[in-house]
Amino acid sequence: MSGVGPVSAFYVLAVLSIGSALMVMAARSIIHAVLFLVLFFVSLAAMFVLLSADFVAVAQLLVYAGAIGVLVVFAILLTPSREQRGMETKFVGPGLLAGAVVAGTVIFIAFNTNWPTASNDFPSTVDAIGQALLNRWALPFEIASVLLIAAMIGAIVIVGGRGVDLDPGAAGPSARLVRRER
């Protein structure tokens, strides 16, 4: 990554991503926090583009900005007490401490690792990732599917006994009406 364009793009994205990440914490409304989180995901995807990791960037956009964003929105909207403003809890101190420890660790690793550098114009990464998935990482590829199915079954089991109130078999006059019509 060199040249005026990519470097200036990097600084713009850095400000955008750090700013939106800070606003996730600072926003008073939880929906605003989610919107800033999505903005953060998008700017992170743009960062991946700058690193020539185009496939990872698109995956980030699709999975995080699209899917996880929607998931968080739905999770918030099924919580009854989300309108509570002022989220000062007694965990502010420990939370800040934990965050500082994680950030310190990441910064320490970032400065102490001998990063390999790629050539400036990188070819498409998709083919390389695909061949890696087909050869060396075939087993993790399959295990990923098992992980995904475990997540799916877990979700189904957790919300298993729901929606009884709208079943036609349930009690109530409207339910009787439905049953009669069958």
Binding site: I31, V42, A59, L61, G66, V70, V126, P173, R180, E181
Partner: protein, 418 residues
Amino acid sequence: MTALSGFLLSQWYDLRDLGNPVRALIDWINGWGDGTTFHWVGYIVAGLIGAAAIGLFLGIAMLSLIWIERKAVSRIQIRYGPNRTGPFGLLQPVADALKLMQKEALTPLAGDKIVFWLAPVVIFIPTLLVFGVLPFGPKMTAANISVAVLYIVAIGSATPLVIFMAGWSSNNKYSLLGAMRGIAMAISYEIPMVLSLLGVVLFTGHMDLNGIVQWQQKYHVWLIVLQPLAALTYFISASAELNRTPTDIAEAESEIVAGYHTEYSGMKFGLFYAVELGNALAVSGIWATLFFGGWWLFGLDRWIPAWLIFLGKMYILYGALIITRGTLPRLRIDQLLDFAWKFLLPLALVNVLVVALEVTIWQENGISAGIVLPVFAVVNILLSVVLVVGYVQSFGFARRQRPRRARLITDTLAAMPQ
């Protein structure tokens, strides 16, 4: 005079290919100084020209689509449609735009003002970004990126969140309900969409749109012949995300006022309206590129400018969207979700496996394309017909809900709405 000889040239004065003068201009700028120092000027000029051209095109296209759409839908419904403003009502889009601009725009007091104003602006970005990767010609792509197929889907997945912004910030039950219904439907239809595009990527081995068009040019075939199932699943699932009539549960006007844009008025509503048309045009553009050869037309693209072919295909395929809009009634949300998860998703998965098998047969045995592609075409068309018809025969009919003969209601309380 050579410009008039019939064949398209790649000289700057051959204005039939609009890419030529632009390329000449940028080459000229790049040649400034010692030929290396001013490349950044050329880059910025190229980017601005591309972006402005797409913005301008989209603006004009939206205006034209308003007229086409209203006229065609009213013809389907045996009405005249707009016919007062100008000849054939051609000035109707301009009148609409002017009216929307000078209408009083209300912002609900209880709403979230910043997000409320932001939503109609942000919703334009995904639409424009999709047009940025569409190849209007062999060298007329604003951004020729190598992961374009997945990129289109990823960009499209941002629109539901913007709709949520609009619905939530209005502080209106109907708006929020419409937005949530819209998101639930959009995410359900995104899975078959991604998987149907996977079939195309698998068959061609390309993820960039220009590569896919050139693949179709090389083997002299439209992909809809080879991938009818993928084309069908893509068309249904992509048009489902457009909030148009058969699937417009996000703004079902007989149920939830106007859905997510209930509280929007004036120009802000106009922006939502325009973006819907733009998204629909984008879908027909993607469909034309992936399944109908894009700018390539069986060699005719040597005489007719590529962008004209592409625009023609795009507008013709837009007709399919108008027909679906004009002929189908609105579906319920449970029907729509059932359709996505129990019909389109299995079909798309079957398609992926069939394509994988076919590519294996083709690649491993080294059969020439001239023999193997017609066979695949016949097999795939038969398979898709069998799958669709078989599925409809076995699952497609609702269980009979009413008794065959009329019965007297004996329990009056049971039939009374309470």
